[in-house]
Symmetry: C2
Subunit: 260 residues, 2 copies
């Protein structure tokens, strides 16, 4: 059965979407069948794989409110072995709508369980791109996930949010999902020439030890250009430093999986 | 009476907090009495002016749920004429708590009206730092505001969210707060040597015209270092390109105010 990983950090703009899309593409390049669930109302992951808003009829919102099954909302991307459940505009009202629903934190977990029972979600990995908050959408992702992966920008303000994130993950593990743990931290957009970035990266490694991936993602303009072409950076420019970094991350991720 | 401006953009990491704190400091340097309301559960604005989490007893959460008045939660910062209502940890549960409360979108507007009536909010400008979402906290800011100011990172994915933000502002103006409009867009973290950034900036100016401030904020590492010293960049390094840009922005903001 698929391993479900929530790509999560309530701090905005730290590289959650970029990591979900490009780690998924790199895992697919390594032969792993990968699904990304775009749980962010902004729909950046769906745009990043080349699915314009007008082509998204069913999405994760329809699955959360019980109107359709996983298989119906799943779409292929240009990358073989890499599928996506897109985000639609309806999702921006979902946080308020979910509050009054039964099993409101479990809606995604229940839908995934139903998909597995119907033998629909036959993936090796499912990555969930979360919005920049710790509201009901992110709680649904954490309740459905086997593990959490936190992209972290090498900036002072981003460091501050990490302890808040860790506490939230521990709370979800205690009350909703006992198998959940913070499995990995990925340092993103790092420019090693900047003293502050070096200091933050060293600080994180000192605090969180082996959880922090050795692979770091450098700041690389090709990575930020790729979404405007609707492609993961591996398809846009395989030789750039961003692509090589995400391939390194995928290999390290798979090494850890064999050890788990 | 104070003009209330919501610093808003659901896209994460675009410079909302940095703009709220540094525009406030620059307005204070120009002699304007300025209050920042930290409406983000992350509390980055409170950190950015040097108020550690343990020093925040009362905050905006207590005001929203009606447990204290504005004056009780307002704190001085190191910058003369610049005060702040901090964010506390309780705020992260507020979005869900607010859903069931009466006048849930009006809680901030009502509290500000009460403060004005009691002659407590005697500021020239009140800037509200919003979280990266369009949930109930941001809706409270938009309902209480006279105008909205959107920081925009010169990145492709950030451009995508702008039309969604504009629609939300128009919806709030129609249903909750007729005086609200998108008054300004500030291009942030721009490196004019990067072709994509140039293209995005030109695109935004073509679409949104005179709303876009002429003053642009360059990417400048001193800006991202300042919060780790608990200071606005004007206090941390007055001569850096970031400080000069925020002073230009404040002057242009005040020029527009005289014209409004
Ligand atoms: N390694 C990188 N090099 C250069 N730019 C990057 C890199 N990673 C991400 N970016 C750019 O930085 C911005 C923020 O990244 P991204 O949107 O993935 O973050 P996020 O955490 O998903 O944001 P949000 O909190 O809004 O969901 C985007 O414009 C993206 O293209
Ligand atoms: N002009 C600049 N030059 C360099 N770094 C900057 C600049 N403006 C902001 N930053 C840094 O970029 C990061 C994002 O900025 P900031 O936290 O202000 O954005 P935000 O929109 O408030 O984020 P969130 O969506 O999480 O609330 C921070 O680490 C900040 O220090
Ligand atoms: Mg994202
Ligand atoms: Mg912020």
């Amino acid at each position: 059965a698929a391993r479900v990983i929530a790509i999560v950090n309530q701090k905005g703009g730290v590289g959650k979407t970029t990591t979900a899309v490009n780690l998924a593409a790199a895992l697919a390049a390594c032969g792993q069948r990968t699904l990304v669930i775009d749980l962010d109302p902004q729909g950046n992951a769906s745009t990043g794989v080349g699915i314009p808003a007008r082509a998204r009829t069913l999405g994760i919102y329809d699955i959360l409110i019980g109107e359709c099954a996983f298989a119906e909302a799943t779409m292929r991307t240009d990358t073989p072995l890499f599928d996506i459940v897109p985000s639609t505009m309806d999702l921006s009202g979902a946080e308020i709508e979910l509050v009054g629903m039964p099993r409101r934190e479990w809606r995604l977990a229940d839908a995934l369980a139903a998909a597995r029972a119907a033998d629909e979600a036959c993936y090796d990995y499912i990555l969930i791109d979360c919005p920049p908050s710790l509201g009901l959408l992110t709680l649904n992702a954490l309740t459905a996930a086997d593990g959490a992966l936190a992209p972290l920008q090498a900036e002072f303000l981003a460091l501050e949010g990490l302890s808040h994130l860790k506490r939230t993950i521990d709370m979800v593990a205690e009350r909703l999902n006992p198998r959940l743990k913070l499995e990995g931290i990925v340092i993103t957009m790092i420019d090693r020439r900047v003293r502050l970035a070096e200091a933050v990266a060293d600080d994180v490694r000192a605090h969180f030890g082996a959880i922090v991936y050795r692979a770091e993602i450098p700041r690389n303009v090709r990575v930020s250009e790729a979404p405007s072409h609707g492609k993961p950076v591996l398809l846009y420019d395989l030789n750039c430093s961003g692509s090589r970094a995400y391939l390194r991350l995928a290999r390290e991720f798979l090494q850890r999986e064999n050890l788990l």
